[in-house]
């Protein structure tokens, strides 16, 4: 077929496609001669032109007569006619037409956008050095230090800032180390005599750290809401969770702060006992000459290996509270890797039934008198053994509720308020227990790490036993507890050495993952669109197989048969109006239809359709062919009832 005849054929196909979309033609079944009337009825298109187009199609394409110019003129005519057909108003296509168009537009532009996004992500990651963090960071690492602007609002920004500054610090340290080529030696310098609490009790307000005790009085924090900080990664393998020790306090000063009262510090000897070992890997920010505490497992743990990278000359010490610390001659960020062994019964020793003998402890007088009030409130157990007393105290403080203070629960001091209102999370419970137990003559220490706070008590045999104040007495599993301890953790200040960067890793990893997911989704979407989103009569659709078309049409029926039921109902109602009889009166309706002035084919369709309704067959659950039959019944009945002819 010469080109212009093919062009004419396609142009006519487009005309039919548009007319079908506009609801002027049914989707198939009419020959070009039969299409003339519906195309030109009611002033749609000029009848002469339509007739001319059909005639030319017959003459040039079917008969193969006429010359090329004639075919071209006819194709132009068809194009003009097609342009006069309004855009689709057919309900089937109109309902999702704009959605399809929008999805299609997205689908067309999405691949470019995604490639651009990918390039941008890779560029960003390369520029910020995130690649090293993404795939190759073994497990976890930490960055630390407060945000430069003191805000905690944008965590990602803060993390990035610190990450950058610390990378430069590490670079500096490494170059220093290369120049000096110093060998690592372990020394035992004496750390400062007193360490104060790392727990500034009002989150985000105190600018202090444990190195700089605040001058102002420290208020007990009564907030129990969720803090903005996330959970801390366990520094030990096998994991120890939130139960590791970092800062240990032995006493309380007159301002109510927990302090390390004793002064004796001991150098740490690298040795081994053959007990099970735990491995830690942390990053800390050092400040020249100042001790920085690092996690330990128990008071009597033994350090078996210790490595710093870069290998600086560090002093590893153990303070009076049996907490480990390092002292460095220079400042900067450093990675530490060490291993500790302990076989103590620190976590699980039984509280003995030895007689309870109060030990001399030190408390400020005011706190002592307040604590006696609390002890009176608790009451001593009948059985006056060590185990019973500690258990009684522990039971009292472990059974707090997590709720805001009610009116009338304020007492003279924060300690009294917490201990008597019995509300608060781990840090409130442990601190109140700490003071009360000291007042009762039980040697007790307050232990804090970045997430959690708990106490340890000295048993009569001189060993220490951890006491955990769970958030909820019923909380069973460690995971649950970990979740709960994430609520209201003790500090809002960025303490050196303890901020995990896993979030950063995830964030940067997702930069790459997001475009990939988007790409996959878009490809899937486009595939679906090609099958479902097109009208029946577009020229491309001619090459589709029949089963494809059926699948598309069936897809349009998957609204649970509601549209079908509505269609059938409306059709039958139009018949009711024509014959003037309600179809609920079966025999009257039947007679009326029998005697109505309608073609026999329409009559048969009406009766069939009514039977289908009565039988309950108007459903898309049945065979697709039956559904199509019903649709076509409705179509032809509607043609008749609207005054058109019907075949």
């Amino acid at each position: 077929m010469p080109d212009n005849r093919g062009r004419l054929y396609d142009a006519y196909g487009r005309l039919v496609a548009r007319a079908t979309g506009a609801g002027w033609l049914p989707p198939g079944g009419l020959t070009p001669r039969e299409q003339v009337d519906p195309l030109s009825e009611a002033g749609r298109l000029d009848q002469h032109d339509v007739r001319q187009a059909a005639h030319e199609l017959e003459h040039c394409v079917y008969a193969g007569a006429g010359d090329d110019e004639e075919a071209q003129r006819a194709a132009v005519l068809c194009d003009r006619l097609a342009s006069e057909v309004p855009d689709a108003v057919h309900p089937k296509r109109d309902r999702f037409g704009s959605l399809h168009a929008a999805l299609d537009a997205i689908g067309r532009s999405a691949p470019y956008a995604i490639v651009a996004l990918l390039v941008a992500s890779i560029g960003y990651i390369l520029a910020t050095g995130g690649v090293g963090m993404m795939g190759f960071t073994p497990g976890f690492s930490y960055v630390g230090g407060p945000p430069a602007d003191g805000s905690h609002g944008s965590r990602a920004v803060a993390l990035r800032t610190h990450f950058d500054s610390e990378r430069s610090a590490i670079r500096k340290l490494r170059s220093q180390w290369r120049r000096s080529a110093t060998r690592v030696t372990w020394s035992s310098e004496t750390p400062p005599a007193t360490l104060t609490s790392a727990c500034p009790l009002r989150a985000g307000r105190e600018e202090s750290s444990h190195r700089d005790p605040p001058a102002a009085r420290v208020d007990l924090d009564r907030r129990t809401g969720i803090d903005h900080l996330t959970q801390e990664v366990d520094p030990f393998r096998p994991p120890l969770g939130w139960r590791h020790r970092r800062l240990v306090y032995t006493s309380v000063d007159s301002a109510g702060r927990a302090v390390l009262a004793a002064t004796e510090d001991r150098p740490v000897v690298i040795t081994s006992t053959g007990a099970p070992a735990r491995r830690a890997r942390v990053s800390v920010v050092l400040e020249a000459g100042r001790p920085v505490h690092i996690p330990s497992t128990s008071p009597d743990c033994v350090v078996t290996r210790f490595r710093a990278s870069p290998p600086l000359e560090l002093t590893l010490g153990r303070d009076a509270g049996d907490a480990l610390y390092v002292v460095s001659p220079v400042s900067g960020r450093i990675d530490l890797e060490y291993e500790v062994e302990d076989d103590s019964q620190y976590f699980a020793a039984t509280l003995t039934d030895a007689p309870f003998r109060p030990q001399p402890t030190q408390l400020p007088d005011r706190l002592l008198s307040e604590a006696r009030l609390v002890l009176d409130e608790i009451g001593m157990p009948d059985e006056h053994t060590y185990g019973a007393v500690v258990r009684r105290l522990h039971a009292y403080f472990a059974d707090f509720s997590v709720a805001p203070l009610d009116a009338g629960e304020e007492y003279a001091s924060d300690y009294l308020t917490i201990a008597l209102a019995r509300k608060g999370v781990c840090r409130h419970r442990s601190r109140a227990f700490f003071i009360t137990a000291l007042a009762a003559g039980i040697p007790t220490r307050l232990v804090e790490n970045r997430l959690h706070s708990f106490c340890e008590v000295r048993l009569p045999d001189g060993s220490w036993r951890q006491l955990e104040f769970r958030l909820e007495p019923t909380a069973a599993s460690d995971d649950e507890l970990a979740d709960q301890t994430g609520v209201g953790i003790s500090s809002g200040v960025w303490v050196a050495g303890w901020l995990e960067t896993r979030e950063t890793v995830f964030w940067q990893g997702s930069m790459l993952a997001f475009p990939l997911v988007l790409l996959g989704t878009t490809i899937a979407l486009r595939r679906a669109l090609v099958r479902d989103g097109r009208g029946h009569l577009l020229p491309e659709a001619r090459t589709l197989t029949i089963s494809d078309r059926r699948a598309r049409r069936n897809a349009s029926l998957r609204d649970g048969g509601q549209s079908l039921a509505r269609l059938v109902d409306e059709t039958l109602r139009s018949v009711e109006e024509r014959v003037g009889v309600d179809r609920t009166d079966a025999s009257a309706f039947f007679d009326a239809v029998r005697h109505a002035d309608m073609p026999p084919t329409v009559r048969r369709r009406v009766l069939q359709l009514r039977d289908a309704v009565v039988r309950g067959d108007v459903t898309t659950e049945t065979d697709p062919t039956a559904v199509q039959l019903m649709q076509w019944d409705c179509y032809y009945i509607a043609r008749w009832s609207m005054g058109g002819d019907s075949r």
Partner: protein, 320 residues
């Protein structure tokens, strides 16, 4: 020269169309309300295809075929098929002549131009296949002697779809030999009124209009009818649609497609065209293919007929 030929053909074609209109009018006066079927049967005559007419008793099947045969001016025989009909009864046999003691061939009713095989499904398979062989080969073999039939030769068979007792339904392979199967339905109300008004008198006679020679000339002029590739594409699309439908056990064969195009050319000639158009295919699809398609039993039980299915196919296919 080409122009002269074209003009001559054109004139020829117009004359044929005019004669065809004449025949249709004459037959339609006798067989009221069956215009569609008359046209289909005329197509069969032109294309040299046999036809099977199906319908319940009393709808004028025989009247239709008889009227057409009369108008064609051909020798017409009617064979009433019964369960005890033997092949020799329709083909003929050698009969002993007591006078000279020789055997003389007595030709059976099949030696005619138009044969009405009434209630073909009442005869046993042996007799049916004898007739079907004649239909295929257009020759008869009796006692080893082969006799050619005079052209034209058509068989219009009728069968009654209602009765099931004592019938031998035609197998699918034999049904395929018929170019078309016409399904005679009850007449429309107006037609029925006219039939009742007219036919209580003597029905009008149908004059013989054509001659066998003319029919052969028609067939020759059918050769000039063009079939564009668009039309073959349309036919293939329709055939594929009948095969792809769910519930179809046996779709339309390629022979159905060949017959469809062949008969469409005949229809084009009847309508004074030298090319076929989708309207031809649309008009002929149901009669040409309805007996060549088998539905699955489930679909048949659900009440869907082959005709419904074919109408669906037509409606779902763009006939452009």
């Amino acid at each position: 020269v080409n122009d002269a030929n074209a003009t001559e053909q054109h004139v020829d074609r117009s004359a044929i169309a005019a004669r065809a209109r004449e025949i249709r009018a004459a037959v339609a006066r006798r067989a009221l309300g069956q215009d569609e079927h008359i046209e289909s049967l005329l197509c069969c005559v032109m294309a040299g295809r046999h036809a099977l007419v199906e319908g319940v008793p009393g709808l004028g099947k025989t009247v239709l075929v008889k009227a057409l045969a009369d108008s064609l001016g051909c020798r017409f025989r009617r064979i009433q098929f019964t369960p005890d009909l033997l092949p020799a009864d329709i083909l003929g046999s050698y009969v002993y002549q007591p006078g000279d003691g020789s055997f003389v061939l007595r030709r059976g009713p099949v030696f005619a131009n138009v044969i009405l095989a009434d209630e073909i499904n009442r005869a046993p398979a042996k007799t049916q296949s004898a007739l079907l062989e004649v239909m295929q080969e257009r020759q008869v073999t009796i006692e080893g002697e082969t006799l050619h039939l005079d052209p034209p030769f058509f068989v219009f068979a009728t069968q009654n779809p209602v009765e099931h007792e004592g019938v031998y339904p035609l197998p699918q392979a034999q049904l395929d030999r018929f170019g078309m199967r016409l399904l005679i339905d009850y007449p429309a109300r107006e037609d029925e009124i006219r039939i009742l008004q007219l036919h209580h008198h003597d029905p009008p006679e149908v004059p013989s209009i054509l001659s066998p020679g003319e029919i052969a000339a028609w067939r020759r002029s059918m050769e000039s009818i063009a079939v564009s590739e668009v039309m073959t594409g349309l036919v293939v699309r329709i055939l594929e649609a009948t095969r792809d439908r769910s519930g179809v056990m046996l779709g339309a064969s390629t022979r159905a497609g060949l017959d469809l195009i062949h008969l469409a050319r005949a229809r084009a000639l009847l309508h004074d065209r030298d090319y076929i158009i989708p309207d031809d295919i649309k008009a002929l699809l149901v009669p040409v293919t309805n007996h060549r398609i088998q539905l699955t039993p489930e679909l048949e039980i659900s009440g869907l007929s082959v005709v419904d299915l074919l109408n669906d196919v037509l409606r779902d296919t763009e006939l452009v």
